[in-house]
Symmetry: C2
Subunit: 275 residues, 2 copies
Protein backbone atom coordinates (compact mmCIF):
# COMPACT_ATOMS: atom_id res chain seq x y z
CA UNK A 1 0.00 0.00 0.00
CA UNK A 2 1.23 3.47 -0.81
CA UNK A 3 1.70 5.66 2.26
CA UNK A 4 1.61 9.43 2.00
CA UNK A 5 2.58 11.78 4.82
CA UNK A 6 0.85 15.12 5.27
CA UNK A 7 2.90 18.15 4.18
CA UNK A 8 2.98 19.35 7.80
CA UNK A 9 2.55 17.00 10.72
CA UNK A 10 3.86 16.19 14.19
CA UNK A 11 6.15 18.25 16.37
CA UNK A 12 5.78 21.98 16.47
CA UNK A 13 8.72 24.28 17.17
CA UNK A 14 8.02 24.54 20.92
CA UNK A 15 7.78 20.77 21.44
CA UNK A 16 10.94 20.09 19.40
CA UNK A 17 12.82 22.70 21.43
CA UNK A 18 11.54 21.33 24.77
CA UNK A 19 12.65 17.80 23.95
CA UNK A 20 16.13 18.94 22.92
CA UNK A 21 16.39 20.81 26.21
CA UNK A 22 15.20 17.77 28.20
CA UNK A 23 17.66 15.46 26.42
CA UNK A 24 20.46 17.87 27.35
CA UNK A 25 19.50 17.66 31.06
CA UNK A 26 19.52 13.97 32.02
CA UNK A 27 18.47 13.05 35.59
CA UNK A 28 16.30 16.16 35.89
CA UNK A 29 12.63 16.46 36.74
CA UNK A 30 9.89 18.24 34.83
CA UNK A 31 7.11 20.09 36.66
CA UNK A 32 4.11 18.30 35.15
CA UNK A 33 4.38 16.47 31.79
CA UNK A 34 6.83 18.29 29.47
CA UNK A 35 4.49 17.77 26.49
CA UNK A 36 1.12 16.04 25.98
CA UNK A 37 2.47 12.68 24.74
CA UNK A 38 2.75 9.82 27.22
CA UNK A 39 5.01 7.69 24.97
CA UNK A 40 7.57 10.44 24.54
CA UNK A 41 7.49 11.22 28.28
CA UNK A 42 8.18 7.50 28.85
CA UNK A 43 11.11 7.58 26.40
CA UNK A 44 12.64 10.61 28.14
CA UNK A 45 12.37 8.76 31.44
CA UNK A 46 13.91 5.55 30.10
CA UNK A 47 16.72 7.09 28.02
CA UNK A 48 17.55 10.23 30.01
CA UNK A 49 16.03 9.62 33.46
CA UNK A 50 13.97 12.78 33.03
CA UNK A 51 10.97 12.21 35.28
CA UNK A 52 7.69 14.04 35.87
CA UNK A 53 6.93 15.52 39.27
CA UNK A 54 3.94 17.77 39.80
CA UNK A 55 4.89 18.84 43.31
CA UNK A 56 7.23 21.81 43.80
CA UNK A 57 7.49 20.97 47.51
CA UNK A 58 9.32 17.78 46.60
CA UNK A 59 12.03 19.57 44.60
CA UNK A 60 15.40 18.98 46.30
CA UNK A 61 17.86 21.83 46.89
CA UNK A 62 19.43 22.81 43.58
CA UNK A 63 17.90 19.89 41.74
CA UNK A 64 17.81 20.17 37.92
CA UNK A 65 14.23 21.17 37.02
CA UNK A 66 12.70 21.67 33.56
CA UNK A 67 9.65 23.88 33.06
CA UNK A 68 7.08 22.27 30.73
CA UNK A 69 6.20 23.68 27.26
CA UNK A 70 2.90 25.09 28.59
CA UNK A 71 4.69 27.16 31.24
CA UNK A 72 3.86 27.43 34.93
CA UNK A 73 2.31 30.15 37.06
CA UNK A 74 4.30 33.13 38.27
CA UNK A 75 3.91 31.97 41.89
CA UNK A 76 5.13 28.47 41.08
CA UNK A 77 8.16 29.97 39.34
CA UNK A 78 8.96 32.06 42.42
CA UNK A 79 8.56 29.02 44.69
CA UNK A 80 10.77 27.00 42.39
CA UNK A 81 13.49 29.65 42.39
CA UNK A 82 13.65 29.43 46.20
CA UNK A 83 14.31 25.69 45.91
CA UNK A 84 16.84 25.55 43.11
CA UNK A 85 19.11 27.56 40.86
CA UNK A 86 19.15 24.86 38.20
CA UNK A 87 16.08 25.72 36.19
CA UNK A 88 15.76 25.02 32.46
CA UNK A 89 12.85 26.90 30.96
CA UNK A 90 11.27 24.83 28.19
CA UNK A 91 8.20 27.06 28.07
CA UNK A 92 7.36 27.48 24.39
CA UNK A 93 8.36 31.03 23.36
CA UNK A 94 4.89 31.38 21.85
CA UNK A 95 3.53 30.87 25.39
CA UNK A 96 6.05 33.18 27.08
CA UNK A 97 4.80 35.95 24.79
CA UNK A 98 1.18 36.04 26.05
CA UNK A 99 2.52 35.83 29.62
CA UNK A 100 4.59 38.97 29.02
CA UNK A 101 1.74 40.74 27.22
CA UNK A 102 -0.62 39.92 30.07
CA UNK A 103 1.76 41.37 32.65
CA UNK A 104 2.53 44.53 30.65
CA UNK A 105 -1.05 45.26 29.61
CA UNK A 106 -2.52 44.75 33.08
CA UNK A 107 0.16 47.08 34.49
CA UNK A 108 -0.91 49.68 31.89
CA UNK A 109 -4.50 49.41 33.11
CA UNK A 110 -6.05 47.41 30.26
CA UNK A 111 -8.83 44.94 31.01
CA UNK A 112 -7.35 41.55 30.07
CA UNK A 113 -9.54 39.17 28.10
CA UNK A 114 -8.06 35.73 27.41
CA UNK A 115 -9.65 33.44 24.83
CA UNK A 116 -8.80 30.03 26.21
CA UNK A 117 -9.61 27.09 28.45
CA UNK A 118 -9.38 28.22 32.07
CA UNK A 119 -8.32 24.70 33.15
CA UNK A 120 -5.45 24.38 30.65
CA UNK A 121 -1.96 24.71 32.20
CA UNK A 122 -0.94 27.25 29.52
CA UNK A 123 -3.89 29.51 30.36
CA UNK A 124 -3.30 29.14 34.12
CA UNK A 125 0.27 30.29 33.54
CA UNK A 126 -0.74 33.27 31.37
CA UNK A 127 -3.49 34.31 33.84
CA UNK A 128 -1.01 34.36 36.71
CA UNK A 129 0.90 37.22 35.07
CA UNK A 130 -2.16 39.46 35.22
CA UNK A 131 -2.14 42.03 38.02
CA UNK A 132 -5.92 41.89 38.35
CA UNK A 133 -8.39 39.11 37.72
CA UNK A 134 -8.48 38.54 33.93
CA UNK A 135 -11.61 37.53 32.02
CA UNK A 136 -11.14 34.02 30.55
CA UNK A 137 -13.67 32.83 27.98
CA UNK A 138 -13.77 29.76 25.77
CA UNK A 139 -16.57 31.05 23.53
CA UNK A 140 -18.08 34.37 22.46
CA UNK A 141 -21.31 33.78 24.38
CA UNK A 142 -19.38 33.81 27.66
CA UNK A 143 -18.64 37.51 27.10
CA UNK A 144 -22.27 38.59 26.93
CA UNK A 145 -22.63 39.24 30.68
CA UNK A 146 -19.17 40.74 31.21
CA UNK A 147 -18.76 44.47 31.75
CA UNK A 148 -16.34 45.64 29.07
CA UNK A 149 -13.86 48.37 30.02
CA UNK A 150 -12.92 51.32 27.86
CA UNK A 151 -9.44 49.91 27.17
CA UNK A 152 -9.21 46.19 26.49
CA UNK A 153 -6.33 43.84 25.64
CA UNK A 154 -7.38 40.61 23.94
CA UNK A 155 -5.02 37.60 24.06
CA UNK A 156 -5.52 34.01 22.89
CA UNK A 157 -4.38 30.62 24.07
CA UNK A 158 -1.85 29.53 21.41
CA UNK A 159 -3.94 26.64 20.06
CA UNK A 160 -7.31 28.33 19.76
CA UNK A 161 -9.42 28.80 16.65
CA UNK A 162 -8.69 32.05 14.81
CA UNK A 163 -12.26 32.43 13.47
CA UNK A 164 -13.75 32.51 16.97
CA UNK A 165 -10.93 34.83 18.11
CA UNK A 166 -11.97 37.33 15.40
CA UNK A 167 -15.63 37.06 16.41
CA UNK A 168 -14.60 37.95 19.96
CA UNK A 169 -12.57 40.92 18.68
CA UNK A 170 -15.57 42.05 16.58
CA UNK A 171 -17.77 41.90 19.67
CA UNK A 172 -15.32 43.95 21.75
CA UNK A 173 -14.22 46.66 19.26
CA UNK A 174 -17.53 48.57 19.05
CA UNK A 175 -17.86 48.52 22.86
CA UNK A 176 -14.56 50.10 23.87
CA UNK A 177 -12.49 53.01 22.68
CA UNK A 178 -9.34 50.90 22.32
CA UNK A 179 -9.12 47.16 21.74
CA UNK A 180 -5.54 45.94 21.60
CA UNK A 181 -5.64 42.60 19.86
CA UNK A 182 -2.61 40.36 20.31
CA UNK A 183 -2.58 37.53 17.84
CA UNK A 184 -0.96 34.92 20.06
CA UNK A 185 -2.35 31.97 18.12
CA UNK A 186 0.40 29.63 16.96
CA UNK A 187 0.32 28.81 13.26
CA UNK A 188 1.87 25.35 13.65
CA UNK A 189 -1.38 23.71 14.76
CA UNK A 190 -3.22 25.21 11.82
CA UNK A 191 -0.56 24.19 9.31
CA UNK A 192 -1.02 20.59 10.50
CA UNK A 193 -4.78 20.93 10.15
CA UNK A 194 -4.63 22.40 6.64
CA UNK A 195 -2.26 19.66 5.51
CA UNK A 196 -4.42 16.88 7.01
CA UNK A 197 -7.47 18.33 5.25
CA UNK A 198 -5.73 18.40 1.85
CA UNK A 199 -4.34 14.90 2.27
CA UNK A 200 -7.67 13.40 3.45
CA UNK A 201 -9.25 14.54 0.19
CA UNK A 202 -6.89 12.47 -1.96
CA UNK A 203 -6.47 9.17 -0.07
CA UNK A 204 -8.62 6.05 0.60
CA UNK A 205 -7.85 5.83 4.29
CA UNK A 206 -6.29 8.13 6.92
CA UNK A 207 -4.29 7.33 10.03
CA UNK A 208 -3.80 10.01 12.68
CA UNK A 209 -1.05 9.37 15.22
CA UNK A 210 -1.16 11.02 18.62
CA UNK A 211 -2.23 10.93 22.26
CA UNK A 212 -5.90 10.02 22.54
CA UNK A 213 -6.32 12.79 25.12
CA UNK A 214 -4.50 15.36 22.98
CA UNK A 215 -6.89 18.09 21.84
CA UNK A 216 -4.98 19.00 18.68
CA UNK A 217 -4.71 15.32 17.65
CA UNK A 218 -8.47 14.90 18.03
CA UNK A 219 -8.98 17.98 15.86
CA UNK A 220 -6.83 16.39 13.13
CA UNK A 221 -8.95 13.23 13.34
CA UNK A 222 -12.24 15.15 13.09
CA UNK A 223 -11.05 17.25 10.14
CA UNK A 224 -9.77 14.18 8.26
CA UNK A 225 -12.95 12.22 8.96
CA UNK A 226 -14.94 14.94 7.20
CA UNK A 227 -13.13 14.26 3.93
CA UNK A 228 -12.15 10.59 4.28
CA UNK A 229 -14.65 8.22 5.85
CA UNK A 230 -12.09 5.56 6.78
CA UNK A 231 -10.10 7.34 9.41
CA UNK A 232 -8.28 5.89 12.44
CA UNK A 233 -6.74 7.52 15.51
CA UNK A 234 -3.89 5.53 17.07
CA UNK A 235 -1.20 6.17 19.67
CA UNK A 236 1.30 3.65 18.29
CA UNK A 237 2.02 1.18 15.47
CA UNK A 238 0.82 -1.91 17.35
CA UNK A 239 -2.75 -0.68 17.22
CA UNK A 240 -2.87 -0.87 13.41
CA UNK A 241 -5.08 -3.71 12.12
CA UNK A 242 -4.36 -5.09 8.66
CA UNK A 243 -8.09 -5.59 7.92
CA UNK A 244 -8.62 -1.79 7.97
CA UNK A 245 -6.60 -1.50 4.78
CA UNK A 246 -8.02 -4.30 2.63
CA UNK A 247 -8.63 -2.98 -0.88
CA UNK A 248 -7.09 0.44 -0.10
CA UNK A 249 -4.58 1.97 -2.53
CA UNK A 250 -3.24 5.03 -0.67
CA UNK A 251 -3.09 5.66 3.06
CA UNK A 252 -2.58 9.21 4.39
CA UNK A 253 -0.74 9.80 7.68
CA UNK A 254 -0.72 12.81 9.96
CA UNK A 255 0.23 13.31 13.61
CA UNK A 256 -0.44 15.69 16.50
CA UNK A 257 1.97 18.43 17.58
CA UNK A 258 3.30 16.31 20.47
CA UNK A 259 3.82 13.10 18.49
CA UNK A 260 7.52 12.25 18.06
CA UNK A 261 8.91 11.14 14.71
CA UNK A 262 10.07 7.78 16.09
CA UNK A 263 6.45 6.79 16.71
CA UNK A 264 5.35 8.10 13.28
CA UNK A 265 8.24 6.26 11.57
CA UNK A 266 7.14 2.95 13.10
CA UNK A 267 3.56 3.55 11.97
CA UNK A 268 4.66 4.32 8.40
CA UNK A 269 6.94 1.29 8.31
CA UNK A 270 4.14 -1.03 9.45
CA UNK A 271 1.65 0.52 7.01
CA UNK A 272 4.06 -0.01 4.11
CA UNK A 273 4.37 -3.70 5.04
CA UNK A 274 0.62 -4.17 4.42
CA UNK A 275 -0.27 -5.37 0.92
CA UNK B 1 -51.35 65.48 8.31
CA UNK B 2 -49.66 64.07 11.37
CA UNK B 3 -45.90 64.78 11.49
CA UNK B 4 -43.55 62.58 13.49
CA UNK B 5 -39.91 63.42 14.14
CA UNK B 6 -37.29 60.68 14.37
CA UNK B 7 -36.10 59.92 17.94
CA UNK B 8 -32.62 61.17 17.00
CA UNK B 9 -32.05 63.60 14.18
CA UNK B 10 -30.06 66.67 13.18
CA UNK B 11 -27.13 68.25 14.96
CA UNK B 12 -24.53 66.04 16.56
CA UNK B 13 -22.55 67.14 19.62
CA UNK B 14 -19.59 68.44 17.57
CA UNK B 15 -21.72 70.57 15.23
CA UNK B 16 -23.77 72.02 18.11
CA UNK B 17 -20.55 72.92 19.95
CA UNK B 18 -18.96 74.50 16.83
CA UNK B 19 -21.97 76.72 16.19
CA UNK B 20 -22.05 77.94 19.80
CA UNK B 21 -18.36 78.78 19.51
CA UNK B 22 -18.91 80.60 16.20
CA UNK B 23 -21.83 82.60 17.62
CA UNK B 24 -19.59 83.67 20.50
CA UNK B 25 -16.96 85.01 18.06
CA UNK B 26 -18.73 87.50 15.76
CA UNK B 27 -16.68 89.09 12.96
CA UNK B 28 -14.31 86.12 12.83
CA UNK B 29 -13.38 83.91 9.88
CA UNK B 30 -13.54 80.11 9.62
CA UNK B 31 -10.90 78.20 7.70
CA UNK B 32 -13.13 76.37 5.23
CA UNK B 33 -16.85 75.83 5.99
CA UNK B 34 -17.42 75.33 9.73
CA UNK B 35 -19.91 72.51 9.06
CA UNK B 36 -21.35 70.91 5.91
CA UNK B 37 -24.55 72.98 5.71
CA UNK B 38 -24.64 75.97 3.39
CA UNK B 39 -27.81 77.48 4.93
CA UNK B 40 -26.34 77.51 8.42
CA UNK B 41 -23.06 78.96 7.14
CA UNK B 42 -25.12 81.70 5.48
CA UNK B 43 -26.99 82.39 8.76
CA UNK B 44 -23.69 82.69 10.68
CA UNK B 45 -22.48 85.18 8.07
CA UNK B 46 -25.66 87.26 8.16
CA UNK B 47 -26.26 87.27 11.92
CA UNK B 48 -22.68 87.15 13.27
CA UNK B 49 -20.51 88.21 10.34
CA UNK B 50 -18.63 84.91 10.62
CA UNK B 51 -17.26 84.33 7.11
CA UNK B 52 -15.53 81.44 5.37
CA UNK B 53 -11.99 81.86 4.08
CA UNK B 54 -10.01 78.89 2.80
CA UNK B 55 -6.72 80.74 2.51
CA UNK B 56 -4.44 81.00 5.55
CA UNK B 57 -2.24 83.50 3.68
CA UNK B 58 -5.11 85.98 3.80
CA UNK B 59 -5.45 85.84 7.59
CA UNK B 60 -4.68 89.28 9.02
CA UNK B 61 -2.38 89.71 12.04
CA UNK B 62 -4.21 88.57 15.18
CA UNK B 63 -7.50 88.17 13.35
CA UNK B 64 -10.16 86.01 15.11
CA UNK B 65 -10.06 82.61 13.36
CA UNK B 66 -12.26 79.56 14.00
CA UNK B 67 -11.06 76.06 13.09
CA UNK B 68 -13.82 74.02 11.41
CA UNK B 69 -15.42 70.89 13.01
CA UNK B 70 -13.42 68.59 10.70
CA UNK B 71 -10.10 70.02 11.91
CA UNK B 72 -7.17 71.21 9.81
CA UNK B 73 -3.72 69.78 9.12
CA UNK B 74 -0.87 70.12 11.59
CA UNK B 75 1.05 72.32 9.12
CA UNK B 76 -1.92 74.62 8.59
CA UNK B 77 -2.29 74.97 12.35
CA UNK B 78 1.38 75.96 12.66
CA UNK B 79 1.03 78.47 9.81
CA UNK B 80 -2.08 79.88 11.42
CA UNK B 81 -0.38 80.30 14.80
CA UNK B 82 2.30 82.42 13.12
CA UNK B 83 -0.42 84.74 11.81
CA UNK B 84 -2.67 85.11 14.84
CA UNK B 85 -3.03 84.41 18.55
CA UNK B 86 -6.83 84.56 18.37
CA UNK B 87 -7.68 80.99 17.40
CA UNK B 88 -10.91 79.26 18.45
CA UNK B 89 -10.67 75.53 17.92
CA UNK B 90 -14.07 74.18 16.92
CA UNK B 91 -12.60 70.84 15.84
CA UNK B 92 -15.01 68.17 17.05
CA UNK B 93 -13.42 66.42 20.06
CA UNK B 94 -14.23 63.12 18.34
CA UNK B 95 -11.91 64.29 15.53
CA UNK B 96 -9.17 65.61 17.82
CA UNK B 97 -8.98 62.09 19.32
CA UNK B 98 -7.91 60.25 16.12
CA UNK B 99 -5.41 63.09 15.45
CA UNK B 100 -3.81 62.47 18.85
CA UNK B 101 -3.90 58.69 18.42
CA UNK B 102 -2.28 59.00 15.00
CA UNK B 103 0.55 61.13 16.38
CA UNK B 104 1.19 58.93 19.43
CA UNK B 105 0.97 55.59 17.60
CA UNK B 106 3.23 56.64 14.74
CA UNK B 107 5.79 57.89 17.30
CA UNK B 108 5.64 54.46 18.94
CA UNK B 109 6.41 52.79 15.60
CA UNK B 110 3.01 51.41 14.71
CA UNK B 111 1.96 51.26 11.06
CA UNK B 112 -1.04 53.60 10.85
CA UNK B 113 -4.04 52.42 8.87
CA UNK B 114 -6.90 54.90 8.52
CA UNK B 115 -10.30 53.77 7.32
CA UNK B 116 -11.59 56.88 5.60
CA UNK B 117 -11.87 59.04 2.52
CA UNK B 118 -8.43 60.44 1.67
CA UNK B 119 -10.01 63.58 0.20
CA UNK B 120 -12.15 64.41 3.26
CA UNK B 121 -10.87 67.37 5.34
CA UNK B 122 -11.18 65.33 8.55
CA UNK B 123 -8.96 62.57 7.15
CA UNK B 124 -6.45 65.06 5.75
CA UNK B 125 -6.17 66.54 9.24
CA UNK B 126 -5.76 63.16 10.95
CA UNK B 127 -3.19 62.00 8.37
CA UNK B 128 -1.08 65.10 8.96
CA UNK B 129 -0.40 64.00 12.55
CA UNK B 130 1.26 60.82 11.36
CA UNK B 131 5.07 60.87 11.46
CA UNK B 132 5.30 58.57 8.44
CA UNK B 133 3.02 58.11 5.46
CA UNK B 134 -0.16 56.43 6.76
CA UNK B 135 -2.19 53.91 4.79
CA UNK B 136 -5.64 55.36 3.99
CA UNK B 137 -8.30 53.00 2.65
CA UNK B 138 -11.98 53.48 1.97
CA UNK B 139 -12.73 49.76 1.55
CA UNK B 140 -11.26 46.41 2.59
CA UNK B 141 -10.16 45.53 -0.96
CA UNK B 142 -7.74 48.46 -0.96
CA UNK B 143 -5.70 46.69 1.73
CA UNK B 144 -5.00 43.60 -0.36
CA UNK B 145 -1.78 44.90 -1.92
CA UNK B 146 -0.48 46.69 1.17
CA UNK B 147 2.42 45.23 3.14
CA UNK B 148 1.16 44.86 6.70
CA UNK B 149 3.64 45.52 9.51
CA UNK B 150 4.00 43.46 12.67
CA UNK B 151 2.46 46.21 14.80
CA UNK B 152 -0.53 48.03 13.39
CA UNK B 153 -2.80 50.80 14.70
CA UNK B 154 -6.21 50.97 13.03
CA UNK B 155 -8.19 54.23 13.19
CA UNK B 156 -11.44 55.25 11.51
CA UNK B 157 -12.87 58.45 10.12
CA UNK B 158 -15.63 59.37 12.61
CA UNK B 159 -18.52 58.86 10.19
CA UNK B 160 -17.53 55.52 8.67
CA UNK B 161 -19.48 52.26 8.72
CA UNK B 162 -18.68 50.06 11.72
CA UNK B 163 -19.35 46.78 9.86
CA UNK B 164 -16.67 47.51 7.26
CA UNK B 165 -14.34 48.74 10.02
CA UNK B 166 -14.66 45.31 11.72
CA UNK B 167 -13.99 43.51 8.42
CA UNK B 168 -10.79 45.53 8.06
CA UNK B 169 -9.79 44.63 11.64
CA UNK B 170 -10.51 40.94 10.92
CA UNK B 171 -8.28 41.11 7.87
CA UNK B 172 -5.42 42.72 9.82
CA UNK B 173 -5.47 40.74 13.09
CA UNK B 174 -4.27 37.37 11.70
CA UNK B 175 -1.47 39.11 9.77
CA UNK B 176 0.25 40.99 12.57
CA UNK B 177 1.26 40.21 16.11
CA UNK B 178 -0.49 43.28 17.51
CA UNK B 179 -3.41 45.14 16.02
CA UNK B 180 -4.41 48.14 18.11
CA UNK B 181 -7.95 48.99 17.11
CA UNK B 182 -9.18 52.46 18.02
CA UNK B 183 -12.91 52.75 17.70
CA UNK B 184 -13.04 56.38 16.60
CA UNK B 185 -16.42 56.05 14.90
CA UNK B 186 -18.90 58.58 16.29
CA UNK B 187 -22.18 57.09 17.46
CA UNK B 188 -24.26 60.17 16.68
CA UNK B 189 -24.46 59.42 12.94
CA UNK B 190 -25.56 55.87 13.66
CA UNK B 191 -28.16 56.96 16.21
CA UNK B 192 -29.71 59.16 13.51
CA UNK B 193 -29.64 56.25 11.06
CA UNK B 194 -31.25 53.81 13.49
CA UNK B 195 -33.98 56.28 14.33
CA UNK B 196 -34.69 57.06 10.65
CA UNK B 197 -34.94 53.33 9.93
CA UNK B 198 -37.47 52.76 12.75
CA UNK B 199 -39.54 55.76 11.78
CA UNK B 200 -39.58 54.91 8.06
CA UNK B 201 -41.20 51.58 8.92
CA UNK B 202 -44.23 53.19 10.55
CA UNK B 203 -45.06 56.17 8.32
CA UNK B 204 -46.63 56.71 4.85
CA UNK B 205 -44.08 59.23 3.65
CA UNK B 206 -40.63 60.39 4.82
CA UNK B 207 -38.91 63.77 4.49
CA UNK B 208 -35.14 64.01 5.07
CA UNK B 209 -33.77 67.51 5.62
CA UNK B 210 -30.12 68.28 4.88
CA UNK B 211 -27.49 69.44 2.46
CA UNK B 212 -27.79 67.60 -0.86
CA UNK B 213 -24.01 67.15 -0.89
CA UNK B 214 -23.90 65.93 2.72
CA UNK B 215 -22.86 62.25 2.87
CA UNK B 216 -24.64 61.47 6.14
CA UNK B 217 -27.87 63.10 4.91
CA UNK B 218 -27.78 60.96 1.76
CA UNK B 219 -27.32 57.87 3.92
CA UNK B 220 -30.44 58.80 5.91
CA UNK B 221 -32.35 59.14 2.64
CA UNK B 222 -31.18 55.77 1.32
CA UNK B 223 -31.96 53.95 4.57
CA UNK B 224 -35.45 55.50 4.77
CA UNK B 225 -36.17 54.75 1.12
CA UNK B 226 -35.60 51.07 1.84
CA UNK B 227 -38.51 50.99 4.26
CA UNK B 228 -40.75 53.76 2.96
CA UNK B 229 -41.13 54.13 -0.80
CA UNK B 230 -42.32 57.76 -0.71
CA UNK B 231 -39.20 59.49 0.52
CA UNK B 232 -37.99 63.04 -0.23
CA UNK B 233 -34.66 64.77 0.36
CA UNK B 234 -34.91 68.56 0.76
CA UNK B 235 -32.64 71.35 1.89
CA UNK B 236 -35.39 73.71 3.06
CA UNK B 237 -39.15 74.07 3.57
CA UNK B 238 -39.83 75.86 0.28
CA UNK B 239 -38.99 72.70 -1.66
CA UNK B 240 -41.94 70.78 -0.18
CA UNK B 241 -44.76 70.15 -2.70
CA UNK B 242 -48.24 69.62 -1.31
CA UNK B 243 -49.03 66.99 -3.99
CA UNK B 244 -46.44 64.62 -2.45
CA UNK B 245 -48.67 64.22 0.60
CA UNK B 246 -52.12 63.67 -0.92
CA UNK B 247 -53.78 60.77 0.89
CA UNK B 248 -50.95 60.38 3.42
CA UNK B 249 -51.78 60.03 7.13
CA UNK B 250 -48.38 60.27 8.82
CA UNK B 251 -45.20 61.93 7.60
CA UNK B 252 -41.84 61.06 9.22
CA UNK B 253 -39.05 63.65 9.42
CA UNK B 254 -35.34 63.23 9.96
CA UNK B 255 -32.32 65.46 9.30
CA UNK B 256 -28.56 65.20 8.75
CA UNK B 257 -25.98 65.92 11.46
CA UNK B 258 -25.32 69.43 10.07
CA UNK B 259 -28.96 70.47 9.66
CA UNK B 260 -29.93 73.21 12.14
CA UNK B 261 -33.19 73.06 14.08
CA UNK B 262 -34.44 76.31 12.61
CA UNK B 263 -34.57 74.70 9.15
CA UNK B 264 -36.21 71.54 10.53
CA UNK B 265 -38.78 73.59 12.46
CA UNK B 266 -39.85 75.41 9.30
CA UNK B 267 -40.19 72.08 7.47
CA UNK B 268 -42.33 70.59 10.25
CA UNK B 269 -44.50 73.72 10.41
CA UNK B 270 -45.15 73.63 6.66
CA UNK B 271 -45.85 69.87 6.70
CA UNK B 272 -48.41 70.31 9.49
CA UNK B 273 -50.21 72.95 7.40
CA UNK B 274 -50.90 70.34 4.70
CA UNK B 275 -54.27 68.60 4.98
Amino acid sequence: MEVKLAKNYGFCFGVRRAIKLAESKPNSITLGPLIHNAKEIERLKENFNVVVNENIQEVKPNQEVIIRTHGITKNDLEELKKKTNNITDATCPFVTKPQEICERMSKEGYQIIIFGDVKHPEVKGVMSYCQNEPVVIDKLEALKDIKISDKVALISQTTKNVEIFLKIADFLIPQCSECRVFNTICNATFDNQDSARSLAKEVDVMVIVGGKNSANTKQLYNISKEFCQDCYLIEEAQELQETWFIGKQICGVSAGASTPNWIIDKVVERLKSFK
